[in-house]
Symmetry: C2
Subunit: 255 residues, 2 copies
DNA sequence: CGTCTTCAATAACGTATGTTACATTGCACA
DNA sequence: TGTGCAATGTAACATACGTTATTGAAGACG
């Protein structure tokens, strides 16, 4: 229930002024809404009104075919923004649903107009957010088109792990992980049964420890190798600055 | 070798002023480059400098895994812009290569700054372009995750067809189609052999006529149904305005 | 403290799509 | 006007993953 994750994330990329902070702080406390787990926030076909900032909890974007086949096309973690400026479109082409209980702040068109008019650093930060989200979507395309079930699952776990880490939501080598195997199936395009098989294999290889609603990644670099994971698409760095967020200590490399 | 397709496309969505036209016209004639077919315009890992506007020809974005597996993640048709504001990122996470001979205009950071400062209609139009590209990428995720080979191929052909139509590049029910079966394989995540099988099936069903470098779609609505194609994600309409670009005459529906 | 429901686990079997191999067509260029 | 290479087409065979079904564990809820 805070915008700490958003600010932490954006500041990896752009330095925001005290005024910028104040603007974001006000926007994220003005119109806050709460949802239970497994409910829709927005439905395909609706007219988009506000932009949603995830303050806490996990959500996802999904699309469905007439016959019910469902694809999760992205996950939203705390600090994520659901489509800067969507309101210029006439209708939503996808739905947004919660995974866990979720709090969001609704950001209005006026807010974005104000930002555009007078807060260039935030504009840049929002463009960064937009471009990274596009890159993530491309990488999902890559995963679904080319990676095997094992690589694909490993890749998804790496991505979520790094994004959580950037948002400051990991503890040591573990993190909250509320996705069910059904969620993972919808996101990876695999059947639930095969998701199960794949997770077993990752467990057997010692790449993940997944139990209850907690995920641990004891050897991130090994999981990354299994996934053919190249972190460049997350753009977690900026001119001159190099985040070591994607690096693991050298001694872990041996494993 | 013109920006007609871009303007035609953007004006479906926003009305641009004569000054806007002049701005775009100047930007698209200042720094033009030409490429042969099957060459790279930009390579993964490079520092993005300019934004590229496709004036003529077909290109694609692609990513490659260390072991050579290749995925085309999107196609660029005339009038398409390759990532508004990419230059804020430190390095490219994908490559851009040509399919046919291609002419592009390089749009500088200064151009976008000028647009942001004084041409709100163009800003809106560029946001529309950005949001639609994101929606297309999501739909590819859907296709790769849930659609069968046949549906997926049909869907891709529908999408390209409608985008070409919006750019004013179709003639009657046919259009130029320079993609090889290898290109289609890289884009759909199928093997070349299965692409061939799938095209044969679409031909046998009378849904497409594909020969040489020409594609004809005699019954778009039937192809759309085979693809489970819902055109909403292309957002080819705007408040009050309804494009009939996606509709076929009623008599075609019967087929 | 049981009872319901969801989630996870596992097995047996089916199939859409991949792979390898080779023949054919078509077109660029000498 | 051949001649060579890329693109297309087809067949036989292999496999990664899907489907259906059943069981057990784990939370949710009265």
């Amino acid at each position: 229930m805070s915008l700490a994750s958003l600010v932490r994330k954006l500041e990896q990329f752009v330095r925001l002024s005290p005024v910028d902070h104040a603007i974001l702080n006000r926007a994220s406390t003005e119109r806050v809404r709460h949802f239970g787990p497994r409910v829709d926030i927005v439905r395909e076909g609706e007219k988009p009104k506000d932009v949603h900032l995830i303050l806490s909890g996990w959500a996802c974007r999904y699309k469905q075919l007439e016959d019910g086949r469902r694809q999760v096309v992205s996950f939203f973690l705390p600090g994520d923004i659901c489509d800067v400026n969507v309101f210029i479109l006439r209708e939503m082409d996808h739905s947004i649903g919660t995974i866990t209980a979720v709090s969001i702040a609704d950001l209005s068109r006026e807010f974005f107009d104000r930002v555009a008019a007078g807060h260039p650093r935030i504009v840049t930060a929002f463009w960064w957010e937009t471009l990274v989200n596009a890159a993530i979507q491309r990488e999902w395309t890559m995963s679904l088109g080319q990676r095997t079930a094992l690589e694909r699952m490993a890749h998804l776990l790496c991505e979520i792990w790094l994004r959580l880490r950037l948002a400051g939501l990991t503890q040591g080598d573990s993190c909250d992980f509320p996705l069910t195997q059904g969620d993972l199936a919808d996101a990876t395009g695999l059947s639930k049964v095969h998701v199960n098989r794949t997770l077993q294999e990752l467990r057997a290889d010692g790449l993940i420890v997944l139990k209850g609603k907690t995920l641990a990644v004891p050897k991130l670099d090994r999981l990354m190798r299994a996934a053919l994971f190249n972190p460049n698409y997350l753009h977690m760095d900026h001119e001159g600055r190099q985040l070591d967020v994607v690096m693991t200590p050298p001694d872990a490399v041996a494993g």
